[in-house]
């Protein structure tokens, strides 16, 4: 039996929860968002990923209602949001600074939004207690925000923004202030809560690892535009541009010329060097310039020339970065091109086979490298 995969974006029948239609946002002369069109579906965990200043926070603030689009339309559940102020939207936001009200206790912070709705007292109390349980904060209900730790504050912020059961939850760099270990734990907690509550999450982050971990789809942004939207695996394995390939994870980029040869392409990458071969779905004209993107972990490193590899090239180890679980070898090819090759350190360090200055062979399969247009 085939398991149904969560992918409403592939279903032409699915109605998107959020629709950006040709949205442009200008601050004076500066264009923060440029003619952006994007759909986000219900129950998605949608990540906006990009360097600072790429417009991802502006996009989120427009969803919350703190900014208005200069041009274009933003629809939430089919309704144009242009004239709807932030306090009238079924959208809640978790702020980067958490923005907990310092004069209120944790309990009152979480109850804040519910009280504004004018719900009966016992209903509010029940809901707050439920949120406290969900975020494991029962013990801290009576405390003030400055009496709890950073990780707890982050959970209060989450509980407060979820308390009103919004259709859409916006998370602005929610884990930025936490240390790495706590961040990883919290990421899984977030995914868990998202699944339990069935809320649509849109998260803004500059941490690609975080975006990959939590999200159903990632939108990589640059200079006010979305460059690529895809699942984390697609983004990593099939980036559509050098920018995306370079932004997500580590990558070797080799400039080359492509020529069709039967099923695959011949890649001439340096004068006097035997060409590489690569397969791709996109069509390249003969003699078209392209970029070859190869992930370091897909490059094998060996002493002897491997006999069965589609691509093999000799080089010299210039540097080794030992990271504990993996080692990255920086290998210089004959034309001066540097290639990173990663191997998992499954053996103890003392038995490492390669060292500085060693001449080694690098190899990868026909499908390992991605051909990208320049």
């Amino acid at each position: 039996m085939a398991q149904t995969v969560f992918a409403p974006w592939d279903d032409p029948q699915a109605k998107p929860l959020i629709q950006f239609k040709n949205v442009t946002k200008r601050f004076g002369d500066f264009v923060a968002i440029e003619n952006l069109t994007q759909d986000i579906y219900e129950r998605e965990f949608f990540a906006l990923l990009g360097p600072s200043g790429c417009g991802k926070t502006t996009l989120m603030r427009m969803l919350a209602g703190f900014e208005r689009a200069s041009e274009g339309q933003i629809l939430i559940a089919g309704q144009d949001m242009a004239a709807v102020p932030p306090n009238k939207r079924a959208v809640n936001m978790m702020f980067q600074s958490y923005a907990l009200f310092p004069h209120l206790s944790i309990w009152e912070n979480i109850a804040f939004g519910l009280k504004r709705e004018g719900k009966p007292k016992d209903e509010i109390a029940a809901r707050v207690d439920e949120m406290l349980r969900l975020t494991r904060l029962e013990k801290f209900a009576k405390r003030k925000p400055h009496q709890i730790s950073g990780g707890q504050r982050q959970r209060v912020a989450l509980a407060r923004s979820l308390a009103k059961a919004p259709k859409l939850l916006l998370l602005d760099e929610p884990l930025g202030a936490l240390d790495k270990k706590l961040r990883q734990d919290t990421q899984f907690e977030l995914m868990d809560i998202q699944e339990k509550t069935g809320t649509t999450f849109v998260i803004v982050t500059h941490d690609q690892e975080e975006a990959m971990t939590v999200s159903s789809r990632v939108a990589v942004m640059d200079e006010g535009r979305i460059i690529q939207v895809a699942t984390p695996a697609q983004i990593y394995e099939a980036p559509n541009s050098v920018y995306v390939a370079d932004f997500i994870g580590e990558v070797n980029i080799i400039g080359a010329v492509a020529t069709r040869e039967g099923e695959s392409y011949r890649i001439d990458w340096a004068e006097g060097q035997p060409p590489f071969t690569a397969k791709t779905a996109t069509g390249f004209a003969d003699g078209q310039r392209c970029h070859l993107a190869i992930r370091p972990e897909k490059v094998a490193i060996s002493e002897e020339r491997p006999t069965d590899a589609a691509n093999a090239v000799e080089g010299q180890i210039i540097d080794i970065a030992y990271l504990g679980n993996i080692s990255t070898y920086y290998v210089k090819l004959a034309n001066g091109q540097m290639i990173k090759a990663q191997t998992a350190n499954t053996r103890r360090l003392s038995r490492r086979s390669f060292t500085w200055e060693d001449r080694v062979w690098l190899s990868w399969t026909e499908t390992a490298a991605i051909m990208l247009e320049t």
Binding site: N87, M93, F101, K144, H146, Q147, I148, S149, K164
Partner: protein, 272 residues
């Protein structure tokens, strides 16, 4: 630790003597038996007793307190509103001009402020009395409140207000329920500042006071022109006492709350 040198001791003594000697002499002479201010004739509290029986002083004191409370309260409301708009109102035409103009009365000579208010009151035919003093004091203390409150608002995290809006508050509710409680210490100290300024203002009050109402500073000043009486010394001593108690209490309260907060934060860090 560095040793305490003679040089340090001398500078400290000189500095503090310069600051406090006049007041100490005043306090000492308020307990003088003699009618002559500069001749010591033994300890007595008679001037305090005669002060309490002096109806004109008591009336003036009561007027002063009423004026101070009324004007500082109005000034706090107006000043906070002005500060909020200037810091938070976003960009609007003439914003720089307005924020510059709100500070101008701080450096304006009091004589000019007083005179212009006097001309205004005469111009619109307002009878001078306690009401005009309140108006005048509100006018000049409002900008002090606005300065104090806006310096707090500048460092106020804007996302707190956005969070309130996000959770369903109207802009007014966001101000009432979130902004105001958080900036309350600045608003209170603005009120205290306005209160103190009103309490000891002589120049503006003498322009705007009428025969029906006299404030304490005006009363003291006119009494001193007849010659300094030990009663004035006693009155001044009481005022010094009130101010000292007020300042010391305020600083103890602030210090305690900041220590408590620090302790809480450390406790939170430990249980993290």
């Amino acid at each position: 630790m560095r040793r305490f040198s003679w040089f340090n001791a001398t500078s400290l003594t000189l500095g503090f003597a310069f600051l406090y000697l006049p007041m100490i002499i005043l306090i000492i002479y308020s307990f003088n038996e003699s009618r002559l201010v500069t001749v010591w004739a033994g300890f007595s509290t008679q001037w305090y007793i005669s002060l309490l029986q002096n109806q004109s002083f008591l009336d003036a004191a009561w007027v002063t307190v009423k004026v101070a409370i009324a004007s500082s309260t109005i000034a706090t409301v107006l000043g906070t509103m002005a500060a909020y708009v200037l810091v938070r109102g976003g960009r609007f035409m003439g914003r720089t001009l307005f924020s510059g103009m709100i500070y101008a009365p701080l450096v304006m000579p009091e004589v000019i402020t007083g005179l212009s208010l006097l001309l205004l009151f005469i111009g619109i035919g307002l009878d001078r009395g306690i009401f005009t003093i309140i108006l005048a004091h509100t006018t000049f203390s409002m900008c002090f409140v606005s300065v104090v409150v806006s310096s707090r608002l500048v460092s106020f995290d804007n996302s707190l207000e956005e969070a309130a809006l996000d959770l369903g508050c109207s802009p007014f509710d966001a101000f009432r329920l979130v902004t105001l409680p958080i900036i309350a210490p600045a608003v209170i100290s603005g009120w205290l500042l306005a209160f103190t300024l009103s309490l000891d203002d002589l120049v503006i009050a003498s322009f705007t006071a009428g025969p029906s109402a006299t404030t304490l500073p005006i009363r003291i000043f006119s009494a001193v022109r007849m010659g300094v009486s030990p009663e004035i010394n006693a009155l001044s001593t009481i005022m010094i006492g009130i101010v000292t108690v007020g300042v010391v209490t305020a600083s103890i309260v602030t210090k305690r709350s900041s220590i408590a907060q620090k302790r809480d934060e450390q406790a939170a860090a430990r249980t993290a």
